[in-house]
Each structure stands twice: as structure tokens, then as C-alpha cells.
């Protein structure tokens, strides 16, 4: 991204073609006309190695999570919105509660609320699969065997641009998540995430 902070739509894009948009940052390579008089340090080599290794970690933990979520019915029990919640009224109440930063009542806090459920489902079933798909669509070897992966996205540069936005959204989700964890009590939330048990109830009883 830093080596070529220009994004395109379609199959190809380079310094001679018009970008869809440019990131207002200097580049790490001399070739790119960014308008800045200096370059950022280039770290492409090891960061690519790390990226593709991390991609395998995502695939394997993702599969494990998916299988265990299906087996334990976690998705049905905790993530899919309850039938009673599926109405515009409930939806707007949930949004209004969030906008007013209203803390959930004791009873509500023991399960995910509607917006939480929808955003988790979006991350699990839309963003992560899209990140993997748009990533694979940039692989010249992978698309040689499965050309439709990139063709339906409109081209290799489109895949790169989509990959950028999907990653950005995932990063935003992570940041908001971490901030909320700090607000909700870092120690107890981390304990709850790692052990799968909510510690605070024990403390209260």
C-alpha cells in the first residue's frame, strides 16, 4: 500500500493511468509521483512474508471457528437476531440506545444486542470471506486456475481496491472493539474472552 499508494478500478493501473483515488501519503518507492519530496522506509519484503503467513492463520482459525460455531450452535443461539428483534422498531430503538450511549440493563447485558449481533455476523460472514476472496483474486497463480474469482470483481486492480476497503473496515471494527473493551472494563472483558466465561456474574453473586 505504501509502495504504491494509488488505487484503481478495472484490470490494470500504474503511474501512467488515472487512479480512482490516491492516499495522501508519501510512497516507499521512488517511482510513484506522490508530490512529496521524500520517501518512507520500504518494508515490503518481510511484511509480505508476514502477510501471507498471517493469511493462513486466518484461514485455519476461521475454519475452526466456523465448525465449532456450527457444532455448538453458537451462531443460532447467540448471533442470529431473535425473531422478536427483527423489526424496524427494535432496530431503531437499538440504534437510538447506541447513539445516546445508554448502558444496557443488567438483564440485557448477558446477551448480545441487535446491533452487536448484526455487526458480528457482518464481520464473520461478509468481511472475512470478502478479505480472503479479494486477496486470492490478486494472486496470478490462483486466478490462473480459477479466473472467475477475479473476473466477477471487475479485474485485478478492482480486487486490490476492494481488499483495501475490506481491510480498512476490519481494522475499524478491531479499533472500536478494543475501545469498547477498555470502556467496559479491560480485565474482566479479556478474562471473559479468553476463558469463554463471564467472570463478573460470579463476583456479584
Amino acid at each position: 500500500m505504501i509502495s504504491h499508494p494509488r488505487f484503481y478500478w478495472g484490470e490494470t493501473g500504474n503511474d501512467l493511468t488515472t487512479p480512482l483515488f490516491k492516499l495522501p501519503i508519501p510512497a516507499s518507492r521512488a517511482l510513484v509521483p506522490t508530490g512529496y519530496g521524500y520517501m518512507l522506509p520500504d518494508q515490503n519484503g518481510w511484511s509480505r512474508y508476514l502477510h501471507f503467513q498471517a493469511a493462513w492463520v486466518v484461514v485455519f482459525t476461521g475454519l475452526l471457528y466456523l465448525i465449532s460455531g456450527l457444532v455448538t450452535r453458537h451462531f443460532w443461539k447467540n448471533l442470529f437476531p431473535r425473531r422478536s428483534d427483527l423489526s424496524w422498531r427494535r432496530f431503531s430503538i437499538s440504534i437510538a440506545d447506541h447513539l445516546r450511549f445508554r448502558r444496557p440493563t443488567e438483564a440485557e447485558a448477558w446477551s448480545y444486542n441487535l446491533l452487536q449481533r448484526l455487526s458480528y455476523l457482518f464481520v464473520i460472514f461478509v468481511l472475512f470471506p470478502l478479505a480472503i476472496w479479494t486477496g486470492l483474486a490478486m494472486s496470478p497463480a490462483f486466478v490462473s486456475a480459477f479466473p472467475a474469482t477475479v473476473n466477477v470483481l471487475g479485474g485485478q486492480q478492482s480486487a486490490r481496491t476492494l481488499h483495501f476497503f475490506v481491510s480498512l473496515t476490519l481494522l475499524l471494527f478491531l479499533l472500536v472493539h478494543v475501545v469498547m473493551i477498555f470502556l467496559a472494563g479491560f480485565g474482566s472483558r479479556m478474562r471473559a474472552m479468553i476463558t469463554g466465561r463471564a467472570g463478573t456474574r460470579m463476583e456479584r453473586t
Binding site: 500500500m1 509502495s3 504504491h4 494509488r6 484490470e11 490494470t12 493501473g13 500504474n14 503511474d15 501512467l16 493511468t17 518507492r29 521512488a30 517511482l31 515490503n44 519484503g45 518481510w46 509480505r48 512474508y49 508476514l50 501471507f52 503467513q53 498471517a54 493469511a55 493462513w56 490478486m138 494472486s139 496470478p140 497463480a141 490462483f142 486466478v143 490462473s144 486456475a145 479466473p147 477475479v150 485485478q156 486492480q157 486490490r160
Partner: protein
């Protein structure tokens, strides 16, 4: 409610201890099976040429998984080809390193003295002039060159398939890699036989109907369209066929891993 009898308690205790022992044994067996399966998988991967030369180090596992799975999926698949109307205009040439004296001398003579030497595990080591290479049946492909930096362009690449040249020199059956060298001594790389014998791997000497421009790798560039641009090394002067990459540079298969980049770049 009556208290459970001592007998019952003891039995329950026994059965739970029993269960945990059974659990322990199955876990142990599963772990042993898992470890031996990994060992067998590693051995098989090695035998079938699914382990890249830069498999050591902290990123080795990821690299091996990528290379192995893509080799299994893409051994014979063809890189996407495009319509003539999709050729990038104007053609894009990226930054090129300053040329050494050897290159400048050959350039002054319009590359008439450019030679491609082929050696290693071959029956008839040979040296080819550009005219000789051009006398062989030429092939063309309209494929994309995509750089690891993020930019890309489509061009028509014209040349002789590497497999044709390898057939002329007679590759030994135990050959596993073709190592290729640029006139720039800092730039050399290698590909496995699946890529070397692939119908789209060209020794390219022309582009978009004209000579291959120096900026795009002229007079001779090895095109490996199923991998990212840096595998398509420019200014090729020498090929070595080998069954082992240990003897080249630091033994990582190419100059790329020595500079921190992956040997296999099909991503």
C-alpha cells in the same frame, strides 16, 4: 431427599476417573497420530517438490503452505490472457537499475553480440544469439505483469517458450529447477520445472509488435506470467538447469529471499 449411598459415590468417582484416563489416552494417541501425520506430510511434500527453497525461518511454514497448495492447484493452469484492446497504452516501464559496462557495450552494438548460455544438467550445453532464438517458432501472449508494489500493465509478449530451448539442450530427467541470471550480477532467480516447462513461460524478445524495449527488459526477459513481476527477470544471459538450489548464492533459490522477498511469487 436421601443422600446418595457411599457405594454410588465411589462408583461415580471411579467412572469419572476412568473417563479421564480414557480421555488422556485418546488425547495422547491423537497427538502422536497428529505429529506423525505432520512428519509424513512433510516427507511427502519434500518428495513431490512441494517445499520451497526458502522454507526455513519464521515465515517458512506459511511459504510452504502457499507454494504446496498452489503447486497442487495450478500445475497446468494457464495465466489469464486478455484481448488486444486491453493492452496498456502507453506501455509502462518501471524504474531500472543503472546499467553496467557489459550491458552498455552490448547495447552500443545493437545487442548483436548478446548471448544466452545454457548449462548445468543438460546433454548439450549451448550458447544462443538473439537471432538464433528468433529463428525458433515464436509464440505470443497478452498477459498482465503485476508488480508486488501494486501497479500492473497488460502487454503482448512475444518470444520462444523456455520449454523449446530446454528441449534443444536436452534436460536430464532428474532436473528440478531452472536458475536464470541477469547481466546485472545482483539479479538472478529460479523456477521449478512446472513453471519452466509451462507453455506461457517465454524467453521474450519482442513486445506489442516491436522490439522488447530496454525499460521492459530488452533485449531478453524471462516471462513467468503466473508469478508476480519480480520473477520475470530482465536482461537474461545465462540459464543453469539443476536438481538442487543449495549451491546458488545463499541456497535460498534466488536473489529475492536474500533481499527479504519470497522465492515463490504466485502469491
Amino acid at each position: 431427599m436421601s443422600e446418595p449411598s457411599l457405594d454410588k459415590l465411589a462408583r461415580r468417582d471411579l467412572s469419572s476417573r476412568d473417563l479421564s484416563r480414557r480421555k488422556l489416552i485418546t488425547t495422547g494417541l491423537a497427538a502422536t497420530a497428529g505429529v506423525s501425520a505432520l512428519g509424513v506430510a512433510a516427507r511427502l511434500a519434500q518428495n513431490y517438490g512441494l517445499v520451497p527453497p526458502d522454507h526455513g525461518g519464521i515465515y517458512g511454514l506459511g511459504e510452504t503452505l502457499t507454494y504446496a497448495s498452489q503447486r497442487l492447484l495450478t500445475r497446468h493452469s494457464l495465466a489469464r490472457e486478455f484481448a488486444r484492446s486491453q493492452i496498456s497504452k502507453p506501455p509502462f516501464a518501471n524504474e531500472i537499475p543503472p546499467f553496467n559496462d557489459a550491458f552498455r557495450r552490448l547495447q552500443a552494438g545493437a545487442f548483436a553480440d548478446w548471448r544466452l548460455t545454457v548449462g548445468g544438467m543438460v546433454t548439450r550445453p549451448a550458447s544462443f544469439s538473439l537471432d538464433q532464438l528468433k529463428s525458433y517458432p515464436s509464440r505470443s501472449q497478452i498477459t498482465m505483469l503485476q508488480c508486488e508494489e501494486g501497479w500492473s500493465y497488460i502487454a503482448e509478449w512475444i518470444g520462444v517458450p523456455l520449454s523449446h530451448v530446454l528441449e534443444i539442450v536436452g534436460v536430464h530427467p532428474q532436473a528440478q529447477y531452472v536458475v536464470y541470471f541477469s547481466i546485472d550480477p545482483e539479479w538472478w532467480d529460479s523456477i521449478d520445472m512446472a513453471d519452466a516447462l509451462h507453455p506461457q513461460t517465454f524467453l521474450t524478445y519482442a513486445m506489442n509488435g516491436g522490439e522488447l524495449p530496454v525499460g521492459n527488459g530488452g533485449p531478453l526477459r524471462l516471462r513467468v506470467p503466473r508469478q508476480v513481476g519480480y520473477k520475470s527477470v530482465k536482461y537474461i544471459t545465462h540459464l543453469t538447469v539443476t536438481d538442487n538450489l543449495k549451491g546458488f548464492g545463499k541456497g535460498l533459490g534466488s536473489a529475492s529471499p536474500e533481499g527479504g522477498y519470497a522465492w515463490y511469487a504466485g502469491i
